[in-house]
């Protein structure tokens, strides 16, 4: 088995066993920090241990029992859901406009919608902080959702553009020639066929907002402090095992979202 050629150039598995070991080590490096926190969060002692000597749900209790953590979770979820709605709507509209237009206007618009991905986050954060201070948007949900929507737009636009690239626009023209108005043709003919791309854009938008730290550090605060902001302060100042419980819950959420995006992509490929 090990002496069978593994590549087109007749290298055997045995000859490149070092490659398998190296890749296995890198995989371990990548995955261990994502998983190690989960068993530790069930520790029954006052400190984090691995493996835990006794098991308990005390840190989950501490998380759910704290009104501060609960409020922050609620703020983050609300901001992420609102961001998903706005970014998905605006991003889908923009992607449709960009894909139908041509020439300089189209590539200019494309460039503008990619900007939020290219500009260093810290610059967006202090810029927003400064302008929001002038108009009283710091510490508000409106301000946070506006900033997060902008961050999420590129992901939605990219996802929907790729969906539209494999869609035959003539179908919409047929619908129009049969008497459907333009918006009605889009909603009933185009949208159902690109829905998987739109949904995967929405998923990105949600994650972008929910996981965002830097902007939240600057412009969210007081009653509207996000979960990430509270976690950042907590991690910086002390190692509070409550954060291990929250982290485990967040890892669970990423796994769900990962499976979701995988299913979406799988269905897209099969189309």
């Amino acid at each position: 088995m090990l002496n069978r050629p593994a590549t087109e150039t007749q290298i055997t598995h045995f000859q490149r066993i070092w490659l398998y070991m190296l890749v296995a080590l890198v995989f371990a490096f990548l995955i261990i920090p994502c998983l190690i926190v989960i068993p530790m969060s069930f520790s029954g002692s006052k400190y984090l241990e691995f493996p835990p000597r006794s098991w308990s749900l005390q840190w989950y209790g501490a998380y759910l029992g704290s009104s501060e953590w609960r409020a922050a979770t609620f703020v983050s979820l609300r901001a992420a859901l609102l961001t998903t709605v706005f970014a998905t709507t605006f991003g889908t509209l923009a992607a449709y406009g960009i894909s139908r237009a041509y020439g300089a206007a189209s590539s200019l618009a494309r460039g503008v919608f990619m900007l939020p991905m290219l500009v260093p986050l810290i610059l967006v954060a202090i810029g927003c902080f400064f302008v929001y201070a002038k108009i009283g948007l710091n510490g508000t949900t409106t301000g946070l959702v506006m900033a997060h929507t902008v961050l999420a737009l590129p992901f939605v636009v990219i996802a929907v553009l790729s969906g539209l690239a494999s869609y035959d626009m003539n179908q919409e023209r047929v619908a129009q020639s049969l008497g459907a108005s333009r918006p009605w043709a889009f909603l009933t003919v185009t949208l159902p066929q690109i829905r998987l791309s739109v949904m995967s854009g929405a998923l990105f938008a949600f994650v972008t907002s929910f996981d965002e730290v830097v902007i939240a550090l600057f412009i969210s605060g007081g009653q509207n402090a996000t979960l990430t902001r509270l976690m950042f302060a907590n991690i910086r100042d002390q190692i509070d095992p409550t954060v291990a419980a929250i982290s485990s819950l967040l890892i669970g959420l990423s796994m769900i979202l990962l499976v979701g995006s995988h299913l979406l992509r799988g269905r897209e490929d099969r189309k």
């Binding site: 150039t9 990548l30 923009a94 618009a109 202090i126």
Partner: protein, 301 residues
């Protein structure tokens, strides 16, 4: 006889062309208006504030017009920050290439199914919050953390190693965050290399390492350079992980900007630093785009 003269195409040509043109420009306006909600938001949250900061960077703390904010960057403390930022970014990028290239290579040689399954190791960290992963590294690497405990229990060391709150911890944490950004575009470009080229090279008498160096490596370069540009640029402006794992000992550009505001309240200085960071980022991305014709940011996720 009159039928010929009244041929519709000839008589109506002029007004019809006008109507088509009007319809065309109406269509363009309609399409442009679709991008408006998003574009206005980008203007309000991104372009206007950054333009304002740019303007602000030319004024001193008491409101007088000055180039002091840019001149200050030549002071040793700022120069040290720039150097250490570039050092960290360069080191992280190098480690990512050394670790990421073999992974992307092996994955690209496996069947799509197996590779897709193993991709979980790359994609799960990618979908996990940076904050959560940074916290996990802190738990692993701190003085009383898992790694030190294990090493002491195994008798390898007697006193805990300083693994975090320094350069080492920062680089480890940043490599963990950046590695997927290198592997994903690299894997995509390697997947596109037809295995027939390697077989042809072998048939023509190339040794395996010759075939790899002269055929596979050059063909994987576009993906590699795209990954390198992306990782390096993201490192330059990275805030969260250095702030938490550096323990104040690793001066990074983004932290300097944040400190200028939260500690000193000096908007001019922070703005100037931010503007220079933006310009450097843009230059690097533009240079990579021109030199290697790569679209760094398209389709990473």
């Amino acid at each position: 006889m009159t039928m010929v003269l009244n041929h519709p195409g000839i008589a109506d040509a002029e007004p019809n062309a006008d109507a088509l043109k009007r319809r065309g420009s109406r269509e363009r306006r309609a399409l442009a208006s679709l991008t408006l909600p998003g574009a206005i938001l980008i203007f309000l949250v991104l372009i206007l504030p950054i333009g304002w900061l740019f303007w602000l960077s030319f004024f001193g703390p008491s409101g007088e017009a000055t180039l002091e904010n840019y001149a200050r960057m030549l002071k040793p403390i700022y120069v040290r920050t720039f150097i250490s930022t570039f050092e960290v970014a360069g080191l992280v990028t190098l480690v990512c290439v050394l670790l990421g290239y073999p992974v992307a290579y092996l994955l690209s040689q496996l069947s799509e199914r197996t590779a897709g399954l193993l991709m979980i190791f790359v994609v799960l960290p990618f979908w996990t919050s940076v904050l959560v992963r940074t916290y996990a590294w802190l738990v692993l690497l701190q003085r009383t953390g898992l790694v030190n405990t294990w090493l002491i229990d195994a008798g390898v060391i007697s006193t805990p190693l300083p693994l975090v709150h320094n350069m080492l911890g920062t680089v480890i944490g940043m490599v963990h965050v950046m590695l997927p950004f290198l592997i994903l575009p690299l894997y995509a470009s390697m997947r596109a290399i037809d295995p027939v080229y390697m077989r042809a090279a072998a048939n023509c008498g190339a040794t395996p390492s010759q075939a790899f160096r002269q055929v596979f490596l050059p063909m994987s370069l576009p993906g590699l350079t795209a990954g390198i540009a992306l990782v390096f640029v993201l490192c330059l402006g990275f805030f969260v992980t250095p702030a938490l794992l550096g323990g104040g000992r690793v001066a990074m550009w983004a932290m300097q900007i944040a400190n200028n505001i939260s500690v000193y309240g000096n908007w001019g200085a922070a703005s100037a630093l931010g503007v220079v960071l933006l310009v450097v980022t843009a230059i690097i991305l533009y240079a990579f785009k021109r030199l290697f014709r790569v679209d760094t940011f398209e389709g990473v996720r």
